[in-house]
């Protein structure tokens, strides 16, 4: 009995074999393996609030992820090392959403964006205790700081500082802390949890040396910004807001916040701060 193998079957088998052999080496280096299917939410690395270096990505990551889960939206946070890269994805690649604070937008840009506050943090002014054994408090008149250098992690310094003759040195908070220790800057602005986390990780011997300049502080709002230029941006924003409100009402928000932060005065969900 003769078995005749149809040419179509042979071709199919050969293709199958070839494909198997290609898979033996191909997938190890393909980018497809690592490309998430979910929408990417770009965010600036900001420990301990949002960072790959923190358990569960930090409180912002935990809250945002839960809100997206409740909204039935597939989204994953992509932590970027620089604020400029976050802006690039938002404005040039019309990213679905970003998480930001201290980012400046033009009026035209604001019209294309939907801002939802996620968290309010308190930023204090710190000095380095060994340089000022007798203390260094925030003065009654800001002009008394004329000629001093402030280390700041964002490029949106209020004009008031410069008008008062304060020089401003921009950089990552950890770099500013090192410059403060070296005497290259006189004081820095950051939140207490940031200073505590960074000093514990990178400057453990100096944890007690970063001291606040009295009670003077500013509140900063961290927000998720949805992009109307993305096909799902507006509808996702509405669903996200609804989920966030529900989390606030049923206590999930507070529970997640307390899981990640000890202080409810330094970090809170303050709905009064609706930006922009």
């Amino acid at each position: 009995m003769r078995h005749i193998i149809p040419p179509a079957f042979l071709t199919f088998t050969m293709l199958l074999l070839l494909q198997t052999s290609a898979w033996a080496t191909g997938p190890r280096v393909t980018t497809a393996l690592f490309t998430p299917d979910a929408h990417a939410i770009h965010a600036h690395d900001f420990p301990p609030y949002l960072s790959n270096e923190v358990v569960d990505g930090g409180p912002i990551s935990a809250i945002t992820t839960e809100a997206f889960r409740r909204s039935n939206l597939q989204a994953s946070i992509q932590v970027e090392p620089l604020r400029g890269i976050v802006r690039y994805y938002l404005t040039q690649e019309h990213a679905f959403a970003i998480i930001e604070h201290h980012m400046q937008f033009s009026e035209a840009e604001k019209k294309q964006l939907i801002f939802i506050p996620l968290m309010t943090i308190t930023e204090h002014y710190f000095y380095y205790k060994p340089h000022h054994p007798d203390g260094f408090n925030w003065p009654n008149d800001i002009h008394e700081l004329k000629g001093r250098t402030l280390g700041y992690h964002a490029s949106d310094a209020p004009p008031l500082w410069q008008k008062a003759g304060i020089r401003i040195q921009y950089g990552r908070t950890i770099d500013m802390m090192k410059q403060l220790k070296n005497g290259d800057v006189d004081f820095i602005k950051a939140s207490k949890p940031s200073i505590q986390w960074l000093s514990a990780h990178y400057m453990p011997d100096d944890q007690a040396n970063f001291v606040t300049m009295g009670d003077h502080h500013d509140d900063e709002v961290i927000q998720i910004v949805f992009n109307r230029n993305h096909p799902q941006g507006a509808s996702a924003a509405a669903a996200f807001q609804k989920a966030l409100d529900a989390m606030h009402n049923d206590g999930t928000y507070q529970r997640l916040l307390q899981q990640h932060t000890r202080s409810t005065t330094e970090v809170r969900h303050d709905l009064a701060h609706v930006a922009p």
Binding site: T30, T31, F34, D45, P81
Partner: protein
């Protein structure tokens, strides 16, 4: 009194003889080298010291596994003569050691050279390549997805698209400038001024920054060995310095090689000298030497401990120790009965086709390819002064250099501690010419 002088002289002679015996130093003629011609090296080195172009140096020439020339000239520090066992910052000569560490793990099946780096360091997932946009464009750059992930081989061959900051001054262009600005903003440094953090923290930030070019498409000298050093930590579960100490320095009996010197060896560390190459020679002080995007901090080498273990820059060593390392390569992966690498791995590391058509034009000119840790002379069609085809070599930014000539079974090592390094190409080339021209068989 006179007896004491005789005794001290005798003891010094006996010690020197013992060291010489351990170091296997022979008369040049025994290994086919000319003593007379090697004398040219004496004259060359002495003239550079006399003209105060360099503070001092040690030069070593070995052939057929035996040292035939090993001389120290000038000063190791103010008032302190250079010695054969002076310890040097070998900086980028750390890279071949780091490559060897990776090849040890490769031979053990712990990794493949074709593995994406992201398999071990997740920060390298979904990398982007920066493409500068024309002036007036809405945004200065565009980020394009990588066509393929950066592989371990790319790091070894410097084809990953990762840069060094200091070359921004040498090869400026808009794309490089933008990436270097991003490096600075993200706190990435070349590691020549040791940052106060762990190498892993730096590498994880670096992995999330854009690449200069698509992986595999451009040869560009960069922080690749630093990433490899951290990769050794991830794969081996050991700190990089402990791995290198246990797996490379100890078996090769490199007794004076470290990432952080023990206190008792600090007096043997050479000082760094700043030279204008015209007779103005100043000993560098405790402050970093900053020139454009280059930061050097000679006093980093005086730290007794630290977290930053750069696979591209942190090693301290002696000419003799480095000779042992180089001889291991020349022997096809083994030294004194201890096999570190297989002959096949050494062949792979010294192959000239890892970087495609890209030449390794930073230290050398065209005609040199980069293997998996050093540059290899590929042809004689270009302006090359010495050495056989197949010679492989690399250098360090404080003016150290090694060259291995497999055809002639010859090793040349030069160590000085002078900055800026850009002056030293001429001296290095002359040393290699004189080493080659001493061959007399």
């Amino acid at each position: 009194m006179r007896h004491w002088i005789y005794i001290v002289t005798f003891l010094m002679g006996a010690t020197t003889a013992a060291i010489a015996s351990e170091q296997n130093i022979v008369a040049p003629e025994q290994v086919g080298l000319s003593s007379e011609r090697l004398g040219n090296l004496d004259r060359l080195m002495n003239s550079y010291v006399e003209q105060q172009k360099i503070g001092g140096a040690v030069t070593l020439v070995a052939r057929h596994g035996k040292i035939a020339y090993f001389k120290a000239v000038g000063l190791a520090d103010v008032g302190k003569p250079m010695q054969q066992d002076t310890i040097f910052r070998v900086v980028s000569m750390t890279k071949p050691v780091t490559s060897t560490a990776i090849m040890l793990l490769y031979e053990e099946g712990k990794l493949l050279l074709s593995d994406p780096v992201s398999k071990y360091i997740p920060a390298f997932r979904n990398q982007k390549v920066l493409v500068a946009q024309p002036e007036g464009a809405p945004f200065p750059y565009k980020l394009e997805p990588v066509k393929r992930e950066v592989q371990i081989r790319d790091l070894l061959a410097h084809t990953s698209g990762i840069l060094y900051l200091f070359l921004n001054d040498v090869y400026p262009n808009p794309t490089r400038n933008m990436i270097i600005e991003m490096y600075k903003e993200a706190g990435i440094t070349d590691g020549f001024c040791r940052p106060d953090e762990s190498i892993g923290d730096m590498v994880k930030r670096l992995g999330r920054l854009p690449l200069y070019a698509q992986p595999g498409e451009v040869w560009d000298y960069g922080l690749n060995s630093d990433v490899l050093g951290y990769l050794v930590e991830v794969v081996s579960g050991m700190t990089f310095d402990a791995f290198v100490q246990q797996r490379i320095f100890k078996p090769l009996k490199m007794k004076d090689s470290y990432f952080y010197l023990p206190k008792e060896k600090l007096p043997r560390l050479a000082a760094v000298w700043k030279s204008d190459w015209h007779g103005n020679l100043i000993r560098a002080d405790q402050h970093p030497i900053i020139s454009g995007d280059l930061c050097l901090n000679p006093s980093d080498a005086e730290a007794l401990s630290g977290a930053y273990l750069s696979g591209g820059a942190s090693m301290l060593s002696t000419p003799y120790d480095y000779f042992r390392f180089a001889q291991m390569f020349l022997n096809g992966g083994q030294l004194d009965g201890v096999r570190l690498l297989s002959r096949k791995s050494v062949e792979l590391m010294t192959a000239t086709n890892h970087s495609g058509k890209q030449d390794a034009v930073f230290l050398h000119s065209h005609g040199w390819k980069f293997g998996l840790g050093f540059a290899i002379q590929q042809d004689r069609e270009h302006a090359v002064d010495s050495g056989s085809i197949g010679s492989y070599e690399w250098a360090g930014i404080y003016s150290t250099r090694f060259s291995i000539d497999p055809k002639e079974e010859k090793i040349t090592i030069f160590m000085s501690q002078t900055t800026p390094f850009s002056h030293h190409f001429e001296l290095w080339d002359k040393i290699l010419v004189q080493s080659a021209s001493a061959i007399a068989d």
